[in-house]
Amino acid sequence: MQIYVCVKHVPDSAANIHMIDDRNIDDSVPFLMNPYDEHAVTEAAAMKKQIPDSEIIAVCLGKKDAESTLRSALAMGADRGVLVETDDMCDSMTTARVLHAAIIRDGGADIILTGKESIDSEGMQTQFRIGALFDFPVVTNAASLEITKEKARVSCELAGGRTRTYELTLPCVIGAGRGLNTPIYPTFPDVVKSRKKPIETVARSQLDVSDAPGSAKIVSMAPLVQKRNPQKITGTPAEQAAEIIRILRQEAKVLS
């Protein structure tokens, strides 16, 4: 099986984000693989164990330094990487077109794994757009995955512990959720081995990508600060509880 995993190079979730102007962030913060994509790579590695003749190819659209995210994917079990290099910020319509073109150029997929969303642009949609471009079925927020003859059986998490279970024919696109697995933590030998694995760099202009019929562009961005001035609720626990109930009833009006 040809297993493609789409990974994104994003700012570390623990990083404080600062703006350099009203549109762009200071990108000197540490960048890592998007956390949900770690679940996708981990699942691909498990799949390869189950279906031995498989190859895992990690694909990334990003700047030159996104190579480190591909390196992480290789250390986690991907066999090789493809970096489509661009300095542009791409919206999901363009990103999906580029990843689609890169996968076709590379040979074609039996299964494509992604994270359910990226933690930087929070679009939640690239997996669906890739699926539509290939005409492959798509599910997202996968929590369990089982591949049997030409079919994938996937349970996806909704909210509050609810799930939906689907059967998809292969090839298909699966957006990994956090419930899917525990990400592989590469050992030192894994990291050393991964240095010998190949990463191919392709310029975005080398790919045959049609223009999208629409776009989404950030016009302005600012840190979300909500200045709150805490008022203290004091007294005995009984008094504090009574005051909380009063606030819920009279101020927030959410309790009858």
Partner: protein
Amino acid sequence: MKQAGIVIEMENGRVKETSLGMITLAGRTADSLTAMVMSGITDDIADHLSEYGVHTIVDLSLPDAPEIRRNPAVQATAVVHAARELELDRILGLSSPEGKDLLPRVAALLDAPLIMDCVDADLKTGTATTSQYSGKMMAKIQLTGKILMFGIRPNAVLPESKPVPAKTVAMTMDAVVPENISLQSWDEADTEGRQSLVEADIIIAGGRGLKNKKNFSLIFDCAEKLNAAPAASRVAVDEGWVPYAFQVGQTGEKVSPQVYIACGISGSIQHFAGMKTAKMIIAVNKDENTAMMANCDYQVQGDLFDILTEIMRQL
């Protein structure tokens, strides 16, 4: 802009409050609103929608078989069909659990731009306000294209009554049942009748201060009394006290309830990313010197076990 279509979500046969809020938001910048309903239209539903400003109500007439009508891939083709028939050039839906599985499908089929989790949207100019970098930033985004799509964060806008006369339109279509994706099983609703996290008015969340799994049941009990949704910080999830589905934060759900009660949560940057748009934050903690206690509306210093037990006793 010609016509804005709104995908309506229902709960127990009624239009969800969060869907009504979305109608209110759309009505601020659109002159003509079309509601798309998937579950059949009763007089009650039609009255309810027209009371909040919907001009046209469309029954997407999905097949009766539940495994087909509930399949988001089928629902997406129905919305796309309606969008084309009615010449919609703006489509809105909730960024709810169901919406996150439906709106991107519609956007992909229409090859139209979509912004999820909008806290505001201007349908005339085609701009959306949404969080970026997992809730740390708020961005204004310009969409371009023939059809523009917006996923609206539940509770971003509260519903306001705005009665207009509404007409009901029947849509006849042969549902396209895709052969490559079938829905095998699903949960009807939360088995224990709990509130959906992203749509709840009140969320009561527990963190490290709960100390163990057994204690965490206090959060669930208190949530039931308050008719609130229970939630957890990442620590509580990683410790195995609650399933991942309850996590609020950068890698969990992003929520904007009327009231967020944070119990024993210190308030990491990742946790705030998931809940700082709450209208009111009440922090309960033994330690006064936490980020949550410094960035809340009401600071309740004390033993959370005593305080929550008291709340339950007094209700």
